[in-house]
């Protein structure tokens, strides 16, 4: 164990460095990913070390970025695309939904498109419009895409590498308000075998009274909520889903069968969000184990508000605990 403490951004950077060094077919593409190193510095120094042929600043056009990445992938490359902010993925949405997601099925498996689309997502950083959104449900509903989101530097490091090696297109949501939080990362190649596959959920805090499921930026919030609840004598289990398509229902249902209660939390709006899918599926399969309905905590059915209102808009510890209280009151 040779773990070092690093930020989530540094972990992503290290992961990109590792794949660029080990696989000459990998490419990093996007707006400002070169000299600037990306607006969040995730690609910092990569162009300097791997050259302009591997780390490419693109014209300002998301459809063009995704579309040419598909072309590179058809030629045998493994492009890792950066979308600058969540709200700017939509000009590229058509290429993602109608081409990237479908080419493998369309060709009956003859064509593989190992493209990773990295998207810094979520709010809480005081940004202007379009810079704080959580659109993951809009990708999870689309067959052919994998959707994942790490919650910690260690998962960021390992899951990004797994995404790059995956033969399917992966939309990789990065919790931008956790970018500069630190955690232990064991970068030793031998550590790879000890990692949980990206599609597997992880029980990050065991507990018996209620299951809290979350992913990305909300995992830390839920852990904090569980800590507070523990002071009040409530023993919450926290599950980090890690993958949003597929969802590891086995792990969630295993937990819910023990606790009898589930609260799902995400930053995205509740209406048609991931919580709905989880509630529906878990209720179907754990109907007789549930002492309370599955409750959902998330944003409202409104556009992401101006930053002075984001504290009210984003689900924080209090709103998570409020749902926990309501579930336990049943």
């Amino acid at each position: 164990m040779t773990a070092t403490r690093m930020t989530l951004v540094a972990a992503l950077n290290a992961a990109l460095r590792t794949v660029l060094a080990s696989d000459p077919k990998t490419l990093v593409m996007g707006e400002d990913v070169g000299r600037l190193g990306g607006v969040f510095r995730v690609t910092d120094g990569l162009q300097k070390d791997f050259g302009e042929g591997r780390v490419m600043d693109t014209p300002l056009a998301e459809s063009g970025i995704v579309g040419t990445a598909i072309g590179f992938a058809l030629r045998g490359y493994r492009p890792i695309v950066e979308i600058q902010f969540d709200g700017f993925v939509f000009p590229g949405y058509d290429q993602i939904v109608t081409q990237l997601a479908k080419m493998h099925a369309r060709s009956r498996g003859l064509v593989r498109l190992p493209v990773v689309i990295r998207i810094p997502y979520g709010g809480g950083i005081g940004a202007v419009e379009h810079h704080s959104e959580s659109p993951e449900a809009l990708f999870a509903h689309v067959a052919g895409l994998r959707v994942m989101s790490p919650a910690t530097p260690s998962d960021a490091y390992w899951m990004l590498q797994e995404a790059v090696r995956c033969d399917d297109p992966v939309v990789f949501f990065e919790p931008k308000r956790r970018y500069y939080e630190k955690g232990e990362v064991d970068e030793a190649p031998e550590a790879a075998s000890g990692q949980l596959p990206a599609h597997t959920a992880r029980v990050v805090r065991p507990g018996g009274d209620l299951t809290l499921a979350a992913y990305g930026p909300m995992v830390a919030t839920c852990l904090e909520a569980a800590r507070v609840a523990a002071e009040e004598g409530r023993d919450l289990e926290v599950v980090d889903l890690r993958s949003i398509s597929p969802i590891d229902f086995d792990t969630v249902q295993h937990s819910v069968r023990r606790t009898g209660r589930l609260v799902v939390a995400h930053e995205a709006p509740v209406f048609f969000g991931a919580g709905a899918e989880i509630a529906a599926q878990v209720t179907e399969h754990c109907f007789y184990h549930l002492s309370a309905p599955v409750l959902r905590v998330g944003a409202y059915h409104t556009p992401y508000p101006p930053s002075r209102l984001e504290d009210e808009y984003l689900p924080g510890i209090d709103r998570v605990l409020d749902a926990v209280d309501r579930a336990l009151a049943h």
Binding site: G53, P59, L74, G109, L110, A143
Partner: protein, 363 residues
């Protein structure tokens, strides 16, 4: 504003090596002087494509296919361009490039599988250097651009050609492809088959100026070629491919041609265009034109044309038979290729589906 005002100011013709009467007309910049053998072979490819296409229409009318987009009238644009390619060059088609497909050795039945609804057109792109048909207008131009950049990165001495229609030029994706290709000097030939109609909309609804002019704004050459002149198309495409191969960036060809048939078998063009217009283009028929040359130059005789016709009939019989005996996919195939690696959601639904299906067994 002039929202609906039709403006028929767009100039016609383009580079030409063969008049509609089948007479050679030299061009200062472009030349193409195929041997009689090659000329016959060009004719043969066009004629087979036309016969195959007609069979597609017939099979649709007979209910064997769900849809067929006819290439009638565009044989020269397609055969001339595909014959300009070298081995290792890569084609990105739209959905009407049946003659290009045949030229790349794609099994005609593979095309029919798509339009019969057996698959989505799942031939092997690598086996033929011929990508899948793309139905979302214009999106393949970006794939072609990325692919071409990848080729250049690999140091390959190859090029890409991407086909799209006049209507497609209005899509943002095509503009982005022009720009990416220009900025990145991608070895890609943009081949626009301007058949003058996008379903019911004539060119004037799509553009204010001739389409080849679009390239200027992005800083690369664009030319119009007579798309019904197979020799001119071949010559211009060959030159364009050389241009892009040499590292000088992309090239746009506007092949000025005409969609003689309906948009697809679902369409009824009598609702929106005059018979007279169609008639005027009949005189410019690409096959007739080459046939006249072949006859005039003594390169082909009745026996040749009879042989080609017989080959066409044989091809038609083969595909007819092939379609009628084409197996339908099994329902479990629904789940087979959604992902390359296991996806637990698909696995669960596959199991549920199997259980549901088996609930009918013995019923």
């Amino acid at each position: 504003m002039n929202v609906p005002g039709i403006r028929r100011s767009i100039s016609q013709d383009g580079i030409r090596l063969l008049t509609p009467d089948g007479e050679r007309t030299p061009h200062p910049e472009y030349a193409c002087d195929p041997s009689p053998d090659e000329l016959r072979s060009l004719y043969r490819d066009m004629a087979l494509a036309r016969r195959f296409d007609a069979e597609g229409v017939t099979l649709q009318r007979q209910g064997e296919l769900g849809l067929w987009p006819s290439l009638l009238g565009q044989e020269a644009a397609q055969v001339g361009s595909v014959r300009a390619l070298r081995d290792g060059d890569r084609v990105f088609p739209s959905y009407r490039e049946h003659a290009v497909a045949l030229g790349r050795g794609v099994d005609p039945l593979a095309l029919l599988r798509l339009f019969r609804g057996v698959d989505h057109g799942a031939w092997d792109p690598d086996a033929h250097d011929f990508h899948l048909y793309t139905l979302v207008i214009g999106s393949q131009t970006l794939h072609a651009t990325g692919y071409a950049c990848g080729m250049a990165k690999d140091g390959a001495d190859s090029a890409v050609i991407v086909y799209f229609g006049d209507g497609a030029t209005s899509q943002g994706d095509v503009a982005e492809a022009f720009n990416f290709a220009a900025v990145w000097d991608a070895p890609v030939v943009f081949f626009c088959q301007n058949n003058q109609w996008a379903i019911s909309e004539p060119n004037e609804r799509q553009t204010r100026v001739p389409l080849h002019q679009r390239a200027q704004g992005y800083g690369f050459p664009g030319v119009r070629v007579d798309g019904n002149d197979v020799l001119a198309v071949q010559a211009v495409t060959r030159a364009a491919l050389e241009h892009v191969r040499s590292g000088r960036g992309p090239f746009l060809i506007e092949a000025f041609t005409y969609r003689m048939g309906a948009h697809t078998t679902s369409d009824d063009p009598t609702r929106y265009r005059d018979a007279a217009e169609v008639e005027s283009w009949r005189a410019k028929d690409p096959l007739l034109r080459l046939a006249r040359l072949l006859r005039a130059e003594g390169a082909a005789d009745d026996a040749f044309f009879a042989e080609v016709e017989a080959a066409g009939e044989a091809l038609a019989a083969r595909v007819r038979e092939g379609v009628r005996t084409m197996p339908s996919p099994g329902p479990e195939e629904l789940f087979d290729h959604v992902y390359a690696q296991q996806h637990s959601g698909v696995a669960r639904e596959r199991a549920e589906f199997a259980a549901y299906q088996s609930s009918f067994e013995g019923v």
